[in-house]
Symmetry: C2
Subunit: 313 residues, 2 copies
């Protein structure tokens, strides 16, 4: 058989996997912000509580982005006021700027996430800034958060492909990643925002980050399933040593019947994989499927998750 080597070496030894994966559940934030139907605040609170009851321990609850941009999450304060926080469960929130941080601190949040762009075009369109300029935005947010005892995660968008710029340069992603972690963020989530990446790209980026001294313990992965690659990319990342994976219950975040189906990796499909691999995750799959089925009814459409469709009657 003729074979060939693939890019840079993976980080972890071949065939290895983490004993346990932390699922960073983004359904209530990244999922709902992209759904056409806006849920009421009571339904969101019930959704979060059911996710916690199903065993998920990191629930990104909402976003303090301006309601002008994300009307679906305009009820962030009301949601956090009504949410009964469970012991052992973290409820990070997305924060775009100092104004968002003020709101998050006022709402009693103890963990936030900022979001940066790996590409100039997306930095301009999403943040009205540049790749360098965005750090002026982030620096006071992270500093003030850390001073207040609030932990900060960073998202990095467009780590693999960009709809305007095409394939994204690995060295550019490494540079921005290092700067985000250097700000004091405890974790960096590498995002395939438009869902175009494939497994080889994932391995190459993780390899390049490792060469640059960014270990997988500081990394998470965030895949969208636009081209059906999300779970395959996730396995590639686990094999490289990543042990935190972003996903959304039921694959929320993109209508499967719309032209552009850009839903997140479905948490259920991830759990099915982890169960098969014998990797611990702490989630009760039946309870999760039942939650996603309930939510899909509220949203008026079937879940795009294959596992949800297969297991729900």
């Amino acid at each position: 058989m003729s074979v060939r080597e693939l890019g840079l070496p993976a980080r972890a030894p071949a065939g290895w996997l983490p004993d346990r994966v932390t699922i960073w559940e983004v359904g209530a934030r990244d999922g709902l912000q992209n759904e056409q139907v806006a849920l009421g605040v009571e339904a969101k609170i019930e959704f979060l509580d059911r996710l916690a009851a199903a065993g998920l321990t990191v629930l990104e609850a909402t976003s303090f982005v301006s309601p002008k941009w994300v009307p679906q999450l305009a009820d962030a304060e009301e949601l956090l006021a009504g949410l009964a926080r469970r012991p052992g469960v973290r409820y990070p929130v997305l924060v775009p700027n100092e104004r968002g941080l003020d709101r998050a601190l006022a709402a009693g949040c103890t963990e936030i996430a900022i979001f940066g762009s790996a590409t100039e075009t997306f930095a301009r369109r999403n943040l009205n800034s540049t790749v360098d300029g965005q750090f002026e935005l982030f620096e006071p947010v992270v500093r003030r958060a850390l001073d207040a005892g609030v932990e900060v995660r960073a998202y990095l968008s467009m780590c693999f492909g960009d709809p305007w710029e095409g394939v994204v340069d690995v060295e550019q992603v490494v540079r921005v990643s290092r700067r985000l972690l250097d700000l004091g963020c405890f974790q960096l989530s590498l995002g395939d925002t438009i869902g175009v990446a494939t497994a080889g790209q994932v391995e190459r980026l993780l390899g390049a980050l490792g060469e640059a001294g960014v270990g997988t313990e500081a990394l998470a992965v965030h895949f969208h399933d636009t081209y059906g690659q999300a779970l395959t990319n996730t396995l590639a990342a686990l094999r490289c040593g990543v042990s935190t994976v972003d996903s959304s219950a039921g694959g929320l975040g993109g209508c499967p019947y719309a032209e552009s189906a850009t839903g997140n990796l479905a948490t259920e499909d991830l759990v099915w994989l982890l169960d098969g691999l014998g990797v611990e995750h702490g989630v009760d799959l039946d309870a999760l499927v039942s939650t996603s089925t309930w939510l899909a009814e509220r949203l008026g459409r079937p879940s795009p998750s294959r596992v949800v469709r297969a297991l729900s009657k």
Copy 2:
């Protein structure tokens, strides 16, 4: 980082991939036989011709199973009589027994596929036989086919999970696999008929087959996407040295809105992965997506392939 080893070692060196993958396109057979809408013979012929024009070189064209069981493919003779075979394209057909072989030979077929079961329950339900008993059925079919200069592929169903028996014993699969190849079949396609397998199981089975002297050059993989694992399993198999993959254009073979979505791995999603990995396949993705979009309109439902949905306007 705490890590652990996964089952048996993979067959090929870590991180390696085949230079080229042969896509065994099963849409016209495994796909259409599971669709609720029966296509007319002209549409099937156009479908096959468009698949060939898109660069696919192995097209499983139809089945000589009794029309009583698979009414969707009752027009096998008419289809083969009307099909303009392209040079360089193979058109294997499925054959269940000697009666089916007679029909295939009469239709001028030069390549057939038989299908066996790895489990007792499925052997009884699908073949009205047993795991041992099925070989009495296959032996004269394969012998007569080879005598007539017809090449024979074998499918093995339920290699990972069985709806009645649960997880399938690896040693049982290895035993049946060896017997099928010993009959004289040139290739064995390992089927996850109900789509429950995960990557670790795939690696363990391929490892066990290797230990038993069954090299990956005689193997193909055949995954269904019921639980969203088909592409991830495929990558695991490629990494182990497999270079023939079964898939169906547009993910034909299971309605995404039915309770049980059991479609095959979508050829387009596989092509997207292979393109990203730099593995050759010979398929024109745009022409394939356009074919699947055309067929989905005929079938009256959107394609379950993520790539088809993302690329079709």
